[in-house]
Structures are given as C-alpha cells and as structure tokens.
C-alpha cells in the first residue's frame, strides 16, 4: 500500500519557516513538558543516559549483557522484531510477550504520518497506545524516505543544513512525543553499493546531525539517543565516524548503512572494525540484521542488538526458519509431511501443527501468516536466548559449532563465516569439511 508522502506540516513549522527566511534565529529548543512513564525503572545519575548496560559474561569479543531500559530489563544479544506502524503484523501483544520479545521497533516516519505523533502523545505515548509494556525503539525510517519525502525538505534540498533544520525540527518533536526507550538519531544513509564522494558526504553529515539531535533531545533521562555509525564500506570513513560519535558519549551506538546488498565479506569486516572501536560498556546495535547466521557471526564479533523485517516478512511468504536454514511451506512436498515445522522448537505452532496443515494455509489464509510469524519470531527469540545463555555459561564456541553443523551438515561453511570466526577467535574447525586424502 503506497504511503502518501505528503502531509501538511504543523502550523508552528510554517511560521518557523517564514521566520527563517527572514533570517531570524529559529529556536529549536522549546520547553517540552513531559512525564516519565508509569512504573519506569529508576535511572542512574549519569547524565544523558536512561539505560544501564552490565556485561554478565564474555567469550573473546562476544558478550552477554543485561540492558536495563526504562520499560524493561533485557538480556543481550537480542533480536528486535519490527512493528513499523505500531503493531507486529498479525500478532497480538500478549503473544509477543509469550514468545519472549523484549524490545520492538516502531517507525517514526510512519507513525508521524498516521496516526501522528501528537495523537500518540495525547494518548500517553506509544507504549500506552499499543499497550506494549516492554521496551520500544524508534527508528527514523531513513529507508522509507524520511528525508526524501518530508515535504519541508523538497525545494530547499540544495541547502542541506536548511533541510536538516526543517526536517529535524519535526523529527525531535516526533520522537520525543512517541516516547520510545531508545531513539535513533537522524542520519544520512547511503546504500553500500554506491561508491564515490557521496559516502564521505553522508558520513560527515551524520556527525554534524548528531550534535543537533543531542541539542534538540528533550528527554535524555527517559529516552536513550543512539548514534549511528556510517561511512559505507570504507574503513577510514568508518573510523572517523566511530571516533566522532564516541566523543559525544552517547548511551549506545548503532552500526548503520549495512544489510543493503553488499557482499558478506565486506559486511563482516565493517562490523568487526566498528565493534572493536566502539566502547565496551555501551550496547552495540547492528541495524537491519537479519538472517540467523549473520546474527551469530555479529554476536561473535561483539554486537548486542539486531532488528530486521526478515522473520515476519518471510513468514508471510510461507517460509519458516529452522535450524537447517529455511523451510518453504508452499512446496508441494509439504502437503504430505505430518511432522512439525521444527521438532526441536517449543513454540505453540510446532507443538500443535503439522507441516501439511500449515502448507494448506499459507498464502491463502491470514491464519497461515499468523502461525508462521509466531513460529519465526519464537525462533529468533530462542536464538537470542541461546546466544545469551551460552556466553554466560562459557559454552559459546560449542553453541556456534552446533549451530553451524546443523545449518551446514556437509561442512560447507561459507568462507566469510570462517574468516569472521577466525577474527572472533572461535574455533569452528569441527564444522568444516575436512580435505579428503584420496
């Protein structure tokens, strides 16, 4: 369903634009009255932080931690399902709790459009609006064209600083009103498949914008502003960006601009470089990841948080996530298969339904999408739990080997995974096919 990108800017914005044109200083900061959410966890005295990050266990670069947010105490590594418009498609909030979701994503751009951030604020914030008692994270939605589509950026796009002022004026209000535990800074993202000076431009712009985000952020004791590292696939640019963000002493950091079509070999190297350079005592979030294999590799390299539409989206196309990889329920062979989707899975779907039954539902009935989404998210949450507990118990390498053996029973573990595991100092030789002597 196409989103109409245009919505008329709030009246205050129009008058501000006019006063800008007259060269008057536009006050970005207004006293913004807010109330802390009911039942919020008391926050430490550290300025500009509304979270606590305690590492509970390590294995080389991998770490398992407890992340205390205003609305929920989380265990990392963790996966965050995406609920763009204030709902995870086809699942109710109590089911999400049953599955074990800890943090859910919402999208500032989409919610600002419908039902508008003012309405969400009036009704008590996004938590109350969707009745989600645990943690929320809002992304700016750069991939959906926040900056490209925001009406006040058209026409003045030649002057990016003007454009940002106008875009961000809206943005800060929106994210503060929506009220998520973690809010992502507005950054300038470019696809990793692009080359040339645009990447450098985007990286420096992201750094300039983080200062404005920090200045405009009205609720640092309630909401955590995460910076996003950009810089494409260029290690030099990434390094500059990381150092710039670390200097700002933010509550947490994200590695952005990946998961957009780049080759896996470049992907893991950027993650490895960033996790090595980002501070030890703050959470590290790799945006847009993703496939279970990618999550295991990134966790081995020292990342903590992940988000992706993949599990729920692929469910709607009839694909289930299993230890062996994926199971395509639409396949005709499934029509006679009376086994559960995954015999090792403890979810409601695997305990009650056969592949044959789900096959008869997928792509024809809403219930098929619901049941598969349920299973896929349960799988991702179980993966998160397993990562956390295996690191805490000192069994992380065993977990990784077991995971890779199930996914690559012939021992054909991809080269990039082997390289990444080498850097992460995890021995996966038992999973790899041995060279034959004959």
């Amino acid at each position: 369903m196409a989103l109409t990108p245009f919505c008329s800017p709030p009246p205050s914005l129009c008058s501000s634009f006019r006063s800008l044109r007259r060269g008057l200083f536009l006050p970005l900061l207004q006293a913004y009255p807010y109330t802390t959410s009911k039942g919020a966890v008391p926050m430490p005295e550290t300025a500009l932080m509304a979270l606590r990050f305690e590492v509970l266990g390590r294995f080389n670069r991998a770490r398992a931690a407890q992340l205390t947010l205003p609305h929920f105490v989380c265990q990392t590594p963790l996966f965050m399902p995406v609920g763009t418009q204030g709902t995870i498609k086809g699942l109710a909030t109590n089911q999400l709790e049953d599955i074990g979701c800890q943090i859910i994503l919402g999208n500032t751009y989409h919610l600002a459009l419908r039902p508008t951030s003012e309405l969400i604020d009036e009704l008590g914030g996004l938590h109350k609006f969707m009745n989600w008692p645990r943690a929320l994270l809002t992304d700016s939605g750069e991939s959906s064209g926040w900056k490209a589509n925001a009406p006040y950026t058209r026409g003045v796009y030649s002057n990016p600083s003007m454009c940002f002022t106008l875009a961000y004026f809206g943005y800060s209000c929106y994210i503060n009103r929506i009220g998520a535990d973690i809010i992502m800074a507005l950054d300038d993202v470019v696809k990793t498949t692009i080359t040339g000076p645009r990447i450098e431009e985007a990286m420096y712009r992201t750094l300039r914008w983080i200062d404005r985000c920090i200045a405009a952020h009205k609720r640092p004791y309630d909401q955590n502003l995460f910076g996003i590292v950009q810089g494409g696939l260029d290690p030099v640019l990434r390094d500059i960006c990381v150092r710039g963000l670390v200097d700002r002493n933010l509550p947490g950091y994200a590695i952005g601009g990946l998961a957009g079509g780049e080759d896996k070999d470049s992907f893991w190297r950027v993650v490895a470089q960033c996790t090595a350079a980002l501070p030890e005592d703050k959470p590290r979030y790799v945006m847009g990841v993703g496939y279970p294999l990618d999550i295991v590799v990134c966790s081995a390299l020292g990342a903590d948080m992940y988000d992706c539409v993949y599990p729920t989206r692929t469910a709607r196309f009839g694909t289930a996530l299993v230890p062996e990889g994926v199971l395509k329920l639409k396949n005709n062979a499934m029509a006679e298969d009376t086994r559960p989707i995954d015999s090792t899975c403890a979810c409601m779907v695997c305990k009650n339904y056969s592949r044959a039954y789900i096959h008869s539902l997928v792509s024809k009935d809403a219930m098929g999408s619901q049941l598969l989404s349920y299973h896929n998210l349960y799988y991702m949450m179980q993966l998160s739990r397993n990562l956390h507990s295996s690191i805490v118990r000192g069994k992380f390498p065993e977990f990784v080997c077991n995971f890779l053996q199930k996914m690559f029973p012939k021992g054909d573990v991809p080269e990039w995974v082997c390289n990444a595991m080498e850097v992460a100092e995890i021995d996966i030789s038992s999973c790899r096919a041995r060279f034959r002597d004959d």
Partner: protein, 398 residues
Amino acid sequence: MKFVLKALGNGTARAGVLHLDSVAAAIDTPSLLLSTRKGLPLFTSPDLLSSFPSPDSRLLHVSPLHFLEGLSIKTISKIGGLHQLVGLHDCGFAAFPRDSIQCLPEATATNKTGASFETPCGRLLIKPAEYMEMISSMKPELWATLADEVPAWVSDKRNKTSVDRTIKWLDECIALSPVSGAIVGGSSLEERRRCAQEVATRNVSGYWIGGFGLAESMDERPALLNAVTEALPEEKPRLICGLGLPEEILQGVAAGVDLFESTYIYHLTLEGFALTFPLDGTQINALNLAPNVAGTDPRKINLRATAFRKDATPIVEGCSCYTCQNHTRAYINHLLNVHEMLAQILLEIHNTHHFLGFFGLIREAIKAGRFEEFRKDFVRSRYDHLVEDSSEPVLLAR
C-alpha cells in the same frame, strides 16, 4: 452425542443442553457454531481462543470442502482427524459442506451424481461417497449428510428434484452415525414439509436444515422454517446454516432451531464494525445505544470513523474479551487506517465474544418465558433512535 431439552419458550423456541465427548462441559442451546476456515477461526489465533467464554465457544463449524485445496484425505487420517489437525482437543466440530462465506451451493451445476459448490478453487462437484470418505477421515462430532440446496427462485420441478435427491443421498450416507439428516425444500411449504417428514422417519441423531439464506425473503422465511420444524421430533437437535443477521437468528430460534452457523461476525469484522449493544439484560433502547451517525444501526459502531481517532476507551466498557481488556478504540481505528491485520484479529475477538453474549441473552429469555418480548425489543432497537429523534432530518444510511 446427547441432546436434552430443558425449557420450551412461548411458541416453539426451546432451550436445551448438548453433550459432546470432546467438550468437557455441557453446551446450552440455542448456541452459535463459530465459523472456521480449515478448522481454525479466520483471524483469532488458537492461543487466544481460550479467552472466549466456555463452553459456548467450543462448537466450531468446519466445511470439508476447505481441505480439498491442500490436504488429502489420507494425510488427514494419518494425522488423526480434525482435533489433531488443528490442535483443538477441547472443541466439538460440526461438519457440513456449505460455508456461507466461501463455499456456496451452486444449484445449476448439481446433478444426480453429486452436489456442486462454488469455492475459492473453482467449482467442485462432491459425490456422496467422496463426502463420506472426507467425514470419516475428519471424525467430527456432528455432521450433516450431503444436500442439494436450491435458491428461492427455482422452478417447482427443480425444487422437488432437490428434495428427492437429498433424501437419496441421506440414505447413501446414513451408514456412518451419528448423522444429522439434511433437509431442503427451497421456498415451497409443501416440499419443505415433505422433506422434513421423510427425514424424520430415518434413523438420524439430529437435523441439518439447509437451503436458507439463498434469496428467500425475511417475510416468507418463518412459515418455511415452521413447516420444517413442525414435522420433526422434539427430542433431536436442529442445526441451521445461512441465517446471518441477529434478526434472522431470532427467526430461527422462534421456529425451534438449536444450533446456528452465521456469517455475521465475519462481515462485521471485515467492514470494521464492532457490536456494542448491552448484554447485561437491560432493555435495549435508544438511551443505551451508541451515539452514531443518524440512520445507521445503533447496536454497533464502525471503528473506521474519525470520531474514534482519539477515543481511549475500550469498544465496550466492562467487556471481558481480550480486545476490550487490552486495547482502545483509538488503536483499532489506527490499525484499520493503516490496513494492519491486527485490526481484524481484535475485531473478530470482540465480535465473537459479544455475539456469544447475544446467544446468552436468547437462552435467558427462553428460560424466563419472555422470548417473544425479547425478540420484539431487539428487532425494534434497530430503528428506535430514528423514532426518538424525529425532529431532525434522517439520513437513511446503512
């Protein structure tokens, strides 16, 4: 399966109790059969089914035709039948081919070999022998024999043929018991009576009344229904298919039907409606109905309306369904606007809960001996607000 009559209301409305092996508690009738698609509700996921009032929500209608698309009879048998297939062990299933939402009888294509239905996978012809195989693999608690249902406008000759055919198929199917004998007869009083009398002589454990909801008018229906029920023995349960609206259900109850399959919840849900009339026994009148757009049915609200954008109250204050306990009208309004599936899930839950409550009111009224009064009040409440507010010009909207 056991059915016991408990009370007879004024007229032929009756209250009874149905005992099924798979359902722990006895089910009071008149009761609703929840619509399903391949055995599960259309939107309400199975883990949320337990939040519905029990045991009245434990009767589900299943159409064997749904499984023709993707699941072979062999596979269903291998899995062990319906209960195993859909993971609902404490529910009772009533199986009959017609599903008034998607599998509609196609009278022009039905012939002496089998009954034809328009389904999402095209037009299908089901023969009695095939049908029997489907039923034996599914193992429902209640099931109806194959019927040749015809709409109200067919010729008398076609109607007569449909009755003869249905009775013939009944005799072919009757080997497996317990079975509900199918009764048809279109819009002809004599044919209806004849069919009912014939079926009454067979050794069946109940009756499935077909052929309604196929273009007969509300006015001619009561006589046709009575023509059927008068010929049937009192002590066996009667199921009916095709009566959707609450007013039509009340017609069925008045004629002495016990179990109803209705598409009302489905249509309400798809269109964004939620039922709001009071269920606590207070008289439904203009004062306690939803303030609404003039001319529309005040017993329900349409959550797409912008009036609900900021409404932070539940659909019905005090309703114990999952939706009202957890979400607000504003949230559902937002979900409908952004076309999210959760809207239909939440609406189906509330509407099912509420409609089951409506059946509760019916049963209470029968037991208290005031069913006809209840029925009149309910039917009148649809238009009450128009009379009340006669000073303003009335827009007769839907």
